[in-house]
């Protein structure tokens, strides 16, 4: 039992319940949502109870981040469940979907038990683990989708690897259809993108780095969506990076059902940010042109892209203090996911409601988890946002164990001031 909590005078945004209004929020003694919205005002609060006047700050559902790499097990020095949890809370993220690219790989039932135990003991946020599509991420033999799902696995993906074999992919889709499993594919033709480091174009030519063609992404999307016409399972494209991919998605939406995500990095940065070989901007998929970035923003506005993810990939300094070719790909980004996304609201690229939707109820619906909303009776996972608060990203202030942020020194506007999980305040600025 916890103390009942009352919040008033907040801008409440809960896209799932079509709430976007000034109002209040009541949390009951069990940490569940009792009421939310404009109907909550001083009139329904007993006079003896104290309430918190938020004076125009925002209340949004806790963010559901669909693509997070955690170092546990195997790479605890990069990130463990405890540090991930702390970092997430400071960014308003209350649910994360963890990738199976660990050591050992999350590919069997017994390791899922371990993962759930560690997640429960060390993390204060909700951990939704995925398992790999293939054993040991080798791209040859399927894992036990049914048994793993029964253990609480929410989806299947090879993380930053792609199923290259078309026949295997068709079989994966068939099994996923039978067992009603979610497949999340990192879309990249690895033969075409081999040795690639940055977008194939003028920047790769100038820097003398092997390029990754946007066709590598498009080809896998075309292939998978073609297969999907025959084997219609729950299919999600983990993240896209280019205009060409969006054109395919737009065309295919007419005859097949699928969903699609994008990394906040690809929405906020372009290949020019790599500058003088900044290894922290070596990402997969790579940052592409400004035209691609603008197309991705349009993709969110046109509902072709459903989800925004952090693609949080902690890497220790040793993996980044190398030449560009040797450096590991990926950026730590879970704590800056929302503030960086808010940049798109402040510069009027995307409406606030749409951004919150792509960060909360959209991923939850795809995952079929009851998160990312403020529905009455649900766990009170939410955060309070000071939408105009200016701040500067400094790696020494990051909570995540790895400091490989792609936006060091960036001036952002908007910061989470409080985060609650199951009604309990777990982060406070």
């Amino acid at each position: 039992m916890i103390k009942k909590k009352y919040f008033l005078n907040a801008n409440i945004i809960d896209p799932q319940n079509s709430i976007d209004e000034v109002g209040g929020l009541i949390i009951d003694e069990n940490g569940l949502i009792e009421a939310a919205g404009k109907k909550v005002n001083t009139n329904n609060i007993p006079s003896r109870e104290k309430y918190i006047d938020l004076k125009g700050k925002y209340i949004i559902p806790g963010i559901v981040d669909m693509r997070v790499f955690v170092g546990e097990p195997g790479f605890e020095y990069k990130e463990n469940f405890r540090t991930l949890s702390e970092a997430s809370l400071s960014g308003g993220v209350t649910s994360v979907v963890t990738m199976p690219n660990t050591n050992p790989v999350i590919d069997n039932v017994s390791i899922v038990d371990f993962l759930k135990r560690r997640g429960r003991d060390k993390a204060k946020i909700n951990i939704f683990p995925t398992a790999s599509l293939t054993k040991n991420l080798e791209g040859t033999n399927m894992t036990e989708f049914g048994l793993l799902q029964a253990k609480g696995i929410v989806g299947f993906t090879d993380g930053y690897k792609t199923i290259q074999n078309t026949r295997l992919m068709s079989r994966i889709m068939r099994s996923a259809y039978d067992l009603n499993c979610l497949i999340m594919q990192h879309v990249e033709d690895k033969e075409l993108s081999k040795d690639g480091m940055v977008n194939d174009g003028i920047i790769s030519t100038k820097l003398g780095l092997q390029g990754i063609s946007d066709l590598a992404e498009k080809i896998i999307i075309e292939r998978d969506l073609t297969l999907l016409e025959d084997f219609n399972c729950r299919y999600h494209i983990s993240q896209i990076s280019s205009q060409k991919s969006l054109e395919v998605i737009k065309r295919r939406k007419e005859n097949v059902e699928f969903t699609c995500g994008v990394s906040i990095n690809n929405l906020s940065l372009n290949e020019n940010d790599i500058g003088d070989f900044r290894t922290f901007l070596k990402l997969s998929p790579p940052l592409r042109t400004e035209d691609d970035r603008l197309a991705l923003i349009k993709g969110i506005n046109n509902d072709l892209i459903d989800v925004i993810v952090s693609d949080h990939k902690p890497e220790d300094e040793e993996q980044k203090r190398l030449t560009f070719a040797q450096a590991a790909a990926g950026a730590s980004g879970i704590e800056t996911l929302l503030p960086l996304a808010l940049e798109l609201y402040h510069n009027e690229s995307i409406k606030l409601n749409k951004i919150i939707k792509a960060l909360t109820c959209n991923p939850a619906k795809i995952l079929k988890i009851n998160k990312g909303n403020l529905s009455i009776g649900n766990d009170a996972d939410f955060c309070i946002l000071d939408i105009n608060k200016p701040w500067v990203v400094k790696k020494e202030n990051l909570i995540s164990k790895s400091k490989n942020t792609s936006i060091e020194g960036r001036k952002l506007q908007g910061k989470i001031t409080n985060t609650f999980v199951k009604g309990e305040e777990l982060f406070k600025i």
């Binding site: 194939d200 030519t205 100038k206 003398g208 780095l209 070989f277 203090r321 190398l322 030449t323 560009f324």
Partner: protein, 312 residues
């Protein structure tokens, strides 16, 4: 000669690439280099302008001509030169470039000349050491002293670069020489034609202000200079070409193809050459047309100039 003083200082601390240089910088280097051409032909070649200075040649990739050229250049200026070939020592033991840099930095060198197989390696090194860094080739990105010596050779023979039509032909995608030359020759007012099979042509190269051709004959038309590049088989991780035989047929420089260029066109090659693959062996040795040996000779002068300027 010794009392000629530089009027203007170079704008950069390091020589990492032609991209960073202004036209004034280039002229400072070329003017300085010209003074060393005659010295290198004279009997007493030794100067003492770098006496007491320490030059470290840090070569992570095998090199014969560039390394010996830098070594000779440093010695002729009186520097203490140490050459380290790291392709088989520290790196094998797992030491990173930054750690190697830190180690060397602790020995207080005045200048480090570096060659590395990864693009951007010299930039990374320059951020970690206190002394000047000269890039002797980083991956596919830049090889600035090669471009400078090529420019000096062209000026020596043609008396100018502005207005010349220059073809760069061969394995462009893997070539740092091509990139540095594109920047430099463009800056100096030449018209640059890039000739390569599509598989060896980098994406969006036209955006660098050059004309690109996959038909060698068209690309060579009316050129004053034909710069041939080596086919870098060691960098080719998959099949780029069907065979050397076919490559020679379409992209090898033969008397027949050279006829498309101007009558007085000069042939250049940064070396080492694959005779019979990218260039006809007789053409390579034709003293009336080929300036390949002169390139090597002026290379020492250019490197002396760079060492002197960046050591200060």
């Amino acid at each position: 000669m010794a009392n000629v003083k530089k009027a203007i200082k170079i704008s950069q601390k390091h020589l990492l690439g032609i991209q960073d240089l202004s036209i004034t910088d280039v002229n400072i280097i070329l003017t300085e280099a010209k003074q060393f051409i005659d010295l290198n032909k004279s009997k007493n070649k030794k100067l003492d302008v770098l006496r007491g200075k320490t030059q470290i040649n840090l070569f992570f990739e095998p090199s014969t001509r560039t390394q010996s050229s830098f070594e000779l250049a440093g010695k002729r200026l009186g520097a203490d030169v140490m050459s380290m070939n790291l392709n088989n020592s520290a790196i094998k033991k797992g030491e990173t470039l930054i750690d190697t840099a830190m180690t060397l930095n602790a020995m207080h060198p005045d200048i480090i000349v570096v060659r590395h197989q990864d693009s951007g390696a010299s930039n990374l090194l320059s951020q970690k050491v206190n002394c000047a860094v000269l890039n002797a080739g980083d991956g596919r990105r830049e090889h600035p002293t090669q471009a400078l010596l090529d420019a000096l050779t062209i000026i020596d023979r043609k008396k100018k670069i502005e207005g010349l039509k220059i073809a760069i032909c061969g394995d462009i995608v893997h070539s740092r020489v091509a990139r540095s030359n594109i920047y430099l020759l463009n800056m100096l007012g030449a018209e640059v034609n890039i000739i390569a099979p599509s598989n060896l042509m980098p994406k969006d190269i036209d955006k660098l202000g050059v004309n690109s051709f996959s038909d060698m004959k068209k690309g060579l038309k009316d050129c004053d200079i034909v710069m041939m590049l080596r086919l870098q088989n060691e960098r080719m991780t998959s099949s780029f070409l069907s065979s050397n035989r076919e490559y020679y047929e379409y992209y090898g420089l033969t008397p027949d193809k050279l006829n498309y260029a101007k009558d007085d066109a000069l042939i250049m090659h940064p070396g080492p050459m694959n005779r019979g693959i990218e260039i006809d062996t007789n053409l390579a040795d034709d003293i009336n047309k080929s300036v390949i040996k002169e390139q090597v000779e002026l290379g020492v002068a250019v490197r002396m100039a760079c060492l002197k300027i960046f050591c200060e």
